[in-house]
Amino acid sequence: MSWFTYAKGQFALSWKVFWRNRRSTFIGFLLPVLLNLVIAAPLRDKEIGGVNAAGYVAVGLLGLALVTSFVNLLGGVVARREELVLKRLRGTECPPSAVFAGQLGAGGVVVLIQALVLGGVAVVWFGAPLPADPALLLLVLLGGYLLFSVLAVALSGVTPSTESAPLVATPVLVLCMFGAGVFTPVAGLPDWLRGPSGALPLSPVVRGLRTAWFGREFGAETWAGGPLRELDLLHGWTSAGPSLLLLAVWLAAAAALSRRLLRWEPRRG
């Protein structure tokens, strides 16, 4: 069997377990979609930075979907470890990398489906335009997903039990939800909060997603401000450059952390 066959087998396993578990289906899939209906939909008639405000928030929620998948993956990895499922999987011929590739892959496909749902609703119902730069959009989405899924694997190592997983995940979720400009522009935050907020792992993702979707230079938008500068494809990438760089730094840090922290078995009692 090839590595790909093993990973495919692990993907199928994780996929089935994801949809079978009510908790993961709710947090990992339904939450961003519900928030979209509750928070984005009422903004259909507003504008921000020259774009449809409901679409603006919907794309932000697509960023947030990465964090809910993080919450879900963190809980999943910890539960697998504590219930000795990881130990069992490690006793099979399946290479360890394929075990995680399958689990992360299944979460990634869930995010892609969410992108289609959130994006579809934004375009069809909210009247947002189609993505200006689909390639950049996919790159930021993929990079963001990798970052948050690897971060979940890393933080699983410092999460002692299934019960304590929410204690580790919730602060990350709340910080990203309110600090990274998902619902409302970062420029609306007090001065002293803007610096730390821009350094959050979700910030470059949300900004990059919006730049790619709407083809404008995001970052300085406010509810009261005028339309943002429009960008052609090339300038979209140069504008997203710093975001991509920050994303890469976070990803490298998360990868290094996960190598150090990942555990396959519960701590010996």
Binding site: A12, V85, K87, R90
Partner: protein
């Protein structure tokens, strides 16, 4: 399987040591297991059985010493070795959300040469539970599902860590039958167990571990040889232990209100005992004779350092 790999034994362990922090769980053991053999590792909790097994299974590297499975290092050549081995952990988790059949189906997707699901479920007598969620299985049924996954790839070498713990007697006998079938097909089996009759019934060779070392090893007959037979009787009315005779030079000891003799041969000892009783007009009610068992060997070891330390089963 190349002819080259055939020349290696299934398992080869040379001076294996394995520590966790300051604690040395395995302190220098060596043994080798031929292909087709059933080898049982016995010992009390904390003796180092599971640690030894987990090194053989490739979960941990040895702290020092050498371990080879079919001539390969199970820690560094994990995937290659595991294609040929099956592992039944002492405790391993399942996805509770999946049914028995779904679990096996999912496992087949990443197992080389996997048996058909129906066949493997029939082997462990779980066909009737195929549609049941794993979370709803009884402890014994979960053990059988464990076993099903361990034999899914028709392993050449099967590790069974306390396979029948938690099973009812019927399931235990069914498991023994399955293990014997696998052996008849040439599978090498490494077994740890608390049930000594299990080892006595199944094993070609046993090793008894005690505090990280092998205290006794060989065929069951070899380990038992020289242990003699046990004769026990309730103390006759009006007789103290000291009033009882020596039999073939063996003095009795007292255990649970009974006098116990360990003698090299039972017939002459019994004749002497009966002669002694007849001369005193005593009836020897409740007299018992049995040959030595692994349990005796085991209890002797445990006695050697009583009070028994309690340790985690690692």
């Amino acid at each position: 399987m190349t002819p080259l790999s055939e020349k290696f034994p299934a398992v080869e362990v040379v001076d294996l040591r394995r520590s966790y922090g300051d604690y040395e769980a395995v302190r220098g053991i060596s043994f080798s297991i031929a292909r087709g053999e059933l080898f049982a590792l016995l010992g009390t909790n904390g003796a180092g059985k599971t640690t030894t097994l987990e090194v053989l299974e490739g979960y941990h590297p040895p702290t020092s010493g050498r371990v080879r499975i079919f001539g390969l290092d199970p820690f560094t050549a994990g995937s290659k070795v595991r294609r040929r081995t099956g592992v039944m952990l002492q405790e391993g988790g399942f996805f509770k959300e999946l049914t028995v059949k779904e679990t096996v189906d999912c496992w087949r997707a990443f197992t080389s040469r996997a048996r058909p699901t129906a066949e493997v479920l029939a082997k462990v007598a779980l066909e009737a539970r195929a549609g049941t969620r794993v979370g709803q299985l009884s402890g014994g049924e979960r053990r059988r599902l464990d076993l099903a996954l361990a034999v899914l790839n028709e392993p050449e070498l099967l590790f069974l860590d306390e396979p029948t713990t938690g099973m009812d007697p019927e399931a235990r006998r069914a498991t023994w039958r399955l293990v014997e079938e696998l052996r008849a097909d040439g599978t090498t089996v490494v077994l740890t167990t608390h049930y000594l009759e299990e080892a006595q019934q199944l094993a070609d060779r046993v090793a008894i571990m005690d505090r990280g070392v092998i205290a006794a090893a060989g065929t069951v007959a070899e380990v038992l040889s020289g242990r003699g037979d046990l004769i026990s009787l309730p103390l006759p009315p009006g007789h103290e232990l000291a009033a009882l005779p020596e039999l073939l030079g063996a003095a009795p000891s007292l255990a649970d209100g009974r006098a116990v003799y360990r003698v090299p041969r039972s017939a002459p000892a019994l004749a002497a005992l009966h002669a002694w009783a007849a001369s005193r007009h005593l009836e020897l009610d409740g007299l018992e004779v049995r040959s030595g068992s692994l349990e005796d060997v085991f209890l002797d070891l445990a006695d050697r350092h009583s009070p028994t330390p309690t340790g985690a089963s690692r």
